[in-house]
């Protein structure tokens, strides 16, 4: 198996603290065909499963869905989905989920959409056959083979002939129970065709499936499967046209929200606990509002305004509702979320000063420049911070007898220990720029009554002053675009790039440049690239 770029670099550079996942790139001008990593089965993410069920069988069925959970690896559920075997309890859960879905679908009459025939009797074999072919095409995202159809017709016939349960509808129900547990539903299967020496082209149904789960977090629509059947997805131009249409769907917004919430930990804000004496306003409702605020800025920058995505790091306004307004010190809107300009003296700058981000990257009752800087290094710059060395006391020093000191002073004192300093300067010093925001993201003039020094730096990269200085600095870094390109690659393909694939990452980073940082344009370039349309040519049995 190929090592990822990351693990190779770790071997080489393990003595240093921070390391970039990017290699010294070869000249991207020459792009001979690159051998891609072989494909792996990808288990549907839970949101993809639920969305697909909803598209297939309606909202009642989707509400009954309760699939096995996602397993994250290397920071991505999409990578876990292509690495791990489903557990025994996961298989149990898929079974009970599929029974609940099928029962809800039967009660709602949702199977009617998948057959035109009227059954002449409960065990109407021809009518079952029609349902299985039509429902199977949607559920498994490809036409069924005869042996598969026969196998499921037998299941339907047995159920319809059951002396206690036997109706035609029960036959359909048990087929649905089975189809939703089949590996053909639960996994994205990518075999490919037309192999070259190095790679294989995805077949048109596989392409439809990859596109749809990536861009819309759901199974391909009937129209997209028709396009696949007609060969429309066999050319880059055809893929671009289909993808452009999918980006217009509301589902595209949801899919990007899913990735963004995972990468920038928005979804972890729900479930944080705060010191209830220090922050009595903290709770379910504020956390949920912070999550929505963060995603609304994403929606605005990417979908409404189609701006350089890095506007997320510099926005001087926020989407504010009645829960958030008092935290930010602005008037509460009467209803919902309203785009609100923020007091200039607070220096808010998008993602990194949002209440959710600040709450997440803090302790229950104090800030954490370390966590904040680590987030910037890992999630915006794709650098890896080495773990602390063994058996060191990582506690911060207590306040000295002379009185309280600022968090910055405590951390700088901590950095006097050279074993800690090599890594902590990489984190703390960036986080210092956010010290005006407390553990739930309220602006504060002072820290324990002491003046706040919010100058900061990222060693080797540059210096900045305060939160807006930090946001503007990051928005100018090519490494930030490159990191986003890597992030989307990993999610889209369910794996880290192999070291041989570094030129692909280079090309993707370039695509951000040519698209002026616009996500939509980047996505269209990505899905039409060979890396997205091909898979490695692993020898099959």
């Amino acid at each position: 198996m190929k090592r990822s770029i990351l693990s190779v670099l770790l071997l080489v550079l393990s003595a240093g603290c921070t390391l970039s996942e990017d290699t010294d790139s070869p000249d991207p001008g020459e792009t001979p065909e690159i051998a891609l990593a072989p494909p792996h089965l990808r288990r549907l993410l839970t949101r993809q499963y639920v969305n697909a069920v909803g598209d297939l069988l309606g909202p009642e069925a989707a509400a009954a869905a309760n699939p096995a959970g996602d397993i994250s690896s290397q920071g991505f559920e999409a990578i876990g989905a292509s690495m791990f075997a489903v557990s025994s309890s996961g298989v149990q859960q898929y079974e009970s989920s599929s029974r609940a879905i099928a029962a809800a679908a039967r009660a709602a009459g949702a199977f009617d959409a998948h057959h035109a025939c009227l059954p002449a009797q409960p065990a109407d074999e021809a009518c079952f056959r029609e349902f299985i072919e039509r429902f199977g095409l949607r559920a498994w995202r490809r036409p069924l083979e005869t042996v598969e159809i026969d196998s499921w017709v037998a299941v339907a016939m047995a159920a319809a002939q059951d002396p206690e349960l036997g109706t035609f509808e029960h036959g359909l129900e048990w087929v649905a129970v089975g189809f939703l547990q089949s590996p053909n539903f639960l996994y994205q299967v990518e075999i490919g065709k037309d192999s070259t020496a190095l790679n294989r082209r995805l077949d048109s149904y596989e392409m439809a499936t990859r596109l749809s789960f990536f861009l819309n977090d759901t199974a391909p629509s009937a129209a997209l499967l028709d396009a696949a059947k007609d060969g429309d997805l066999d050319s880059a131009a055809g893929v671009r046209e289909a993808a452009a249409a999918m980006l217009e769907s509301p589902a595209a917004k949801g899919a990007l929200r899913g990735l963004y919430a995972e990468r920038f930990l928005v979804r972890d804000v729900d479930g944080l606990q705060k010191d209830e004496f220090e922050y009595p306003q903290w709770g379910d409702e504020l956390a949920a509002s912070f999550q929505e605020e963060s995603l609304r800025l994403l929606d605005e920058v990417v979908w409404t305004d189609d701006l350089d995505w890095k506007a997320i790091l510099t926005a001087e306004h926020a989407w504010v509702d009645a829960n958030i307004a008092p935290v930010y010190g602005v008037p509460a809107p009467s209803v919902g979320f309203v785009r609100t300009d923020l007091p200039a003296e607070q220096g808010r700058a998008g993602l990194l000063t949002q209440g959710g981000t600040m709450s997440l990257l803090a302790h229950p009752n104090s800030t954490s420049p370390t966590r904040r800087g680590k987030f910037i290094q890992e999630r915006l710059l794709c650098n890896v911070i080495s773990p602390p060395p063994p058996d060191v006391d990582i506690s911060l020093p207590p306040d000295p007898p002379t009185g309280p000191v600022t968090m910055r002073e405590k951390l700088i004192q901590h950095q006097e220990d050279p074993t800690c300093a090599t890594c902590h300067v990489q984190m703390d010093n960036a986080g210092f720029a956010l010290e005006h925001f407390d553990a739930i993201g309220q602006w504060r003039a002072t820290d324990q009554g002491l003046e706040i020094d919010d100058s900061g730096d990222i060693p080797g990269l540059g210096t900045f002053d305060g939160s807006r200085g930090l946001g503007a600095f990051l928005a100018e870094q090519p490494a930030v675009d490159r990191c986003m390109a890597l992030t989307i690659f990993r999610h889209a393909l369910g794996r880290a790039p192999a070291i041989e694939e570094a030129p692909i990452v280079d090309a993707l980073a370039l695509a951000f440049e040519t698209n002026d940082g616009r996500i939509k344009g980047f996505l269209l370039d990505l899905v039409t690239s060979d890396a997205f349309r091909n898979v490695g040519n692993e020898v099959t049995p």
Partner: protein
């Protein structure tokens, strides 16, 4: 004790699924025992059970380690809740977790598997091999419908550092076993829908036969990596077929109402969840639906806030704060031990043969570090509880390793030896052991 159930040949057969199991869904009743009550009629020993039980972020060693060793050991402050079952307790101290440390990951890997974690860079890793509960399951599970049961109580588990920190049970390095956190979901899996005589049972089984056909056909088109994943999937589908209807004549336990939902202040209902989970597990063992379980009271690192004890700060933060929260930390650890004791007492109170289920249990309690303050990997806190079907010292002892270099994996091997003497090693590389701590074995 006279059983309220009677066992006929017909009852036994009704519990069969697929014709492959000898006995399922039945308590081990006197009717099936030999005259001494120590083995099943026919000489088969009573089934052993194996439990791994953890809480995160270690202990406070001065308040944890008993002051005396040997069989005359006395309970320390933090072990005090174990008093009602003290004779079933073996304490092992002074062991060193030798997995290369990066904080906490080595603890999950070393305590529960003995295999070094596989690094993904930074603080992110996968398990390097099967956890000991799954090794035990290879020996104990055959013949029971649920190979193992994975329980979680606190949901404040590290979710961004990979499977090593998120899960304690791993069937293999590429197959984590995520726990169930919602007692109603666990009840539904084990007790609901598995009632004998359910008219949907034949359809569920035949659907799964067709699913297996799909898996086999797909497998033939894939590379080795995915074939292995689908083999695991196939195995789990076959296991599921044996679970359907497996409750047999064992009365299902009452459906719990607890769903492990935070209150409005995002506080977890941990006491109620732990009580409900313990009840379900004990009932599953009593019905012989499963013989193996992992129980993650709180996750590694210790992100849990014990709000039911009046805390407003997570355990992990408490160990890194100055001044530190010594008494609050202690309260949390004592509460953890009370939950473990509650499980042991409930197992002891289930008679089985001449003794009780605890006497036939091997329960391993541990954490992901010795103390949270420095992520210490020396002197790991370990308790081996239960009689192990006669394989563990009873009354128990406190064994303290001499020197500072005795491998933590040695005690893992002891627990597996108690499962089967044929097991001769556990773990790999730095975590490899072929030398069990014999002092706790009979």
């Amino acid at each position: 004790m006279k059983s309220k159930f009677t066992i006929s040949r017909r009852t036994m057969l009704r519990g069969l699924a697929g014709g492959t199991l000898a006995t399922i869904g039945l308590p081990v009743f006197e009717a099936m025992l030999d005259s001494n009550g120590e083995a099943l009629a026919g000489g088969t020993p009573l089934p052993k059970r194996f439990i791994t039980y953890m809480f995160g972020n270690g202990v406070q060693l001065p308040r944890w380690v008993p002051s005396t060793t040997g069989t005359s050991w006395t309970l320390s402050e933090q072990l005090a809740p174990l008093l009602p079952v003290k004779s079933y307790i073996n304490v092992v101290s002074g062991l060193h977790n030798k997995i290369p440390p990066i904080t906490h990951h080595e603890g999950m890997a070393g305590m529960w598997s003995g295999h070094p974690y596989i690094s993904n860079g930074g603080l992110n890793s996968n398990f390097g091999g099967p956890s000991i509960d799954q090794v035990a399951a290879d020996f104990l599970a055959p013949g029971t419908p649920f190979r193992s049961i994975e329980i979680g109580v606190s949901k404040r588990v590290s979710q961004n550092e990979g499977p090593t920190m998120e899960y304690m049970s791993h069937r293999a390095s590429d197959q984590p076993n995520p726990p169930t956190y919602n007692p109603r979901v666990l009840w539904n899996t084990i007790f609901n829908g598995n009632v004998a005589g359910d008219p949907t049972r034949p359809h569920r089984v035949s659907v799964l036969d067709a699913v297996k056909g799909d898996i086999e056909r797909l497998k033939a088109r894939l590379g080795a990596f995915d074939r292995a994943r689908l083999d695991s999937h196939l195995t789990s589908v076959s296991e599921l077929q044996t679970q359907i209807g497996s409750l047999g004549s064992c009365a299902p336990v009452a459906e719990p109402t607890e769903e492990n939902v935070d209150n409005m202040n995002q506080q977890e209902p941990m006491p109620a969840v732990a009580a409900a989970m313990t009840n379900l597990l004990v009932h599953a063992f009593t019905c012989d639906l499963s013989r193996v379980a992992s129980y993650m009271l709180t996750g590694g690192v210790g992100f849990t806030v014990y709000s039911h004890l009046g805390h407003s700060t997570e355990q992990h933060e408490m160990t890194h704060a100055q001044p530190s929260f010594e008494e609050e930390l202690n309260d949390g650890i004592v509460w953890n031990m009370q939950q473990f004791a509650n499980l042991l007492v409930a197992l002891r109170d289930k008679p089985e043969g001449a003794s009780n289920i605890l006497a036939n249990t091997i329960a391993v309690l541990g954490s992901d570090c010795a103390e949270g303050y420095t992520h210490e990997t020396h002197d790991m806190p370990v308790i081996i509880a239960g009689g192990g079907g006669g394989a563990l010292k009873n009354p128990g002892t406190h064994f303290r390793a001499g020197g500072a270099n005795r491998n933590l994996s040695d005690v893992l091997l002891s627990t597996l030896k108690a499962v089967s003497p044929t097991i001769t090693s556990v773990g790999s590389d730095e975590g490899l052991s072929t030398t069990p701590v014999t002092e706790i074995l009979t």
